[in-house]
Amino acid sequence: MSDQTATRSEAMTPDEVMRYSRHIIMAQVGPQGQRKLRDAKVLVVGAGGLGGPVALYLALAGVCTVGIVEFDTVDLSNLQRQVLHQTPDVGKPKLQSAKEKIAAHNPHVKVVGHNMPITSDNAMGIINQYDIVVNGADNFATRYLVNDACYLAGKTLVDGAILLFDGQATVYEPGKGCYRCLYPDPPPPGLVPSCAEAGVLGAITGIVGSIQATEVFKKILGVGNPLTNRLLLVDALTMEFRTMKLRRDPKCPLCGDTPTVKELIDYDQFCGTPPLVMPGVAAAAH
């Protein structure tokens, strides 16, 4: 055990006890649970609409290692819903903005920045550093990539998606069903609009992101019934919540009985989307 690890395993400081007192007094958390939160390592894919509230609530709760995959800069059009970023941050790297906000909320949190696209080449290396992965990506290629990488790495994936007034959330545990079981193939490019194309209610990001953060806490603490094998649907217009049953598909190419996807693939090709071209990056990552 390293000195750093030994330090982290020690009792909480008086400051930590005061900061997290509303958690610690709950029977489902207690000092032991709070230390579990502190020692957990959680990766958030995207520091936008969903990743923002997830990262903030993880930090507020005292999850002291939060990884964030994000390479975009803050745009004025983000500020309608992305709570991590504020008006003076426009033009700033989202990762920098996220680190500053999280540090202001809780200086005990270490934000590990992954200032790059998540690709088939780097996904396993990134994901393997964490206990739990939260997906806040905004495109199908990344959703399939993160799903496959989490399954292959044996990591819990807390998934969420939003569009217009609707949100979806679920938890994929390796071997108990995955995104491919729910949606075996992506829609043809352009058929399902993005938030930029169709719009999204800002507050729905807070609802779904908070649900994702809650599922992370439950997983770390080992309490409650996770959203595993259930797809939670949020309809903000009717303000109805419903859960659909999910199951592992024995024919799933990833987690089924006779898998054919045994390593990460080219997800741009799979989704029919053009490969990403970043300024200054010669080859597009898949």
């Binding site: 894919v45 399902v192 938030c195 999910l246």
Partner: protein, 97 residues
């Protein structure tokens, strides 16, 4: 009394913004066909060119996905609820790929 079909907000532009539509039918397929007759264009969302439900659309009967039942041949009864749900991808808006 027929079958109530739940329409999520991304599809409501095709149902005059109705969130629930009552239609008649004895199978899920007949329900979808009735919906298509009532709202022309809806069929283009729930069927591909081969009249199959595409893999990015899930149809639920009383919260169970119809592939776990008998697909579009699944029998429905008065008072049942069908939901037509698309895959959504919105979340970060930009910087993950």
């Amino acid at each position: 009394m027929g079958v109530s079909v739940y329409i999520p907000s991304p599809f409501r532009r095709l149902t005059a913004q109705h969130d629930y539509v009552e239609v008649e039918g004895s199978t899920v397929g007949e329900v979808l066909d009735a919906l298509e007759r009532q709202y022309p264009g809806f069929g283009d969302l729930v069927y591909d060119r081969n009249r199959k439900v595409p893999a990015h659309i899930n149809i639920y009967l009383n919260n169970l996905e119809i592939h776990d039942l008998d697909g579009v041949a699944t029998k429905v009864s008065d008072g049942d609820q069908v939901a037509v749900l698309p895959a959504l991808a919105g979340g970060a808006d930009g910087g993950t790929r």
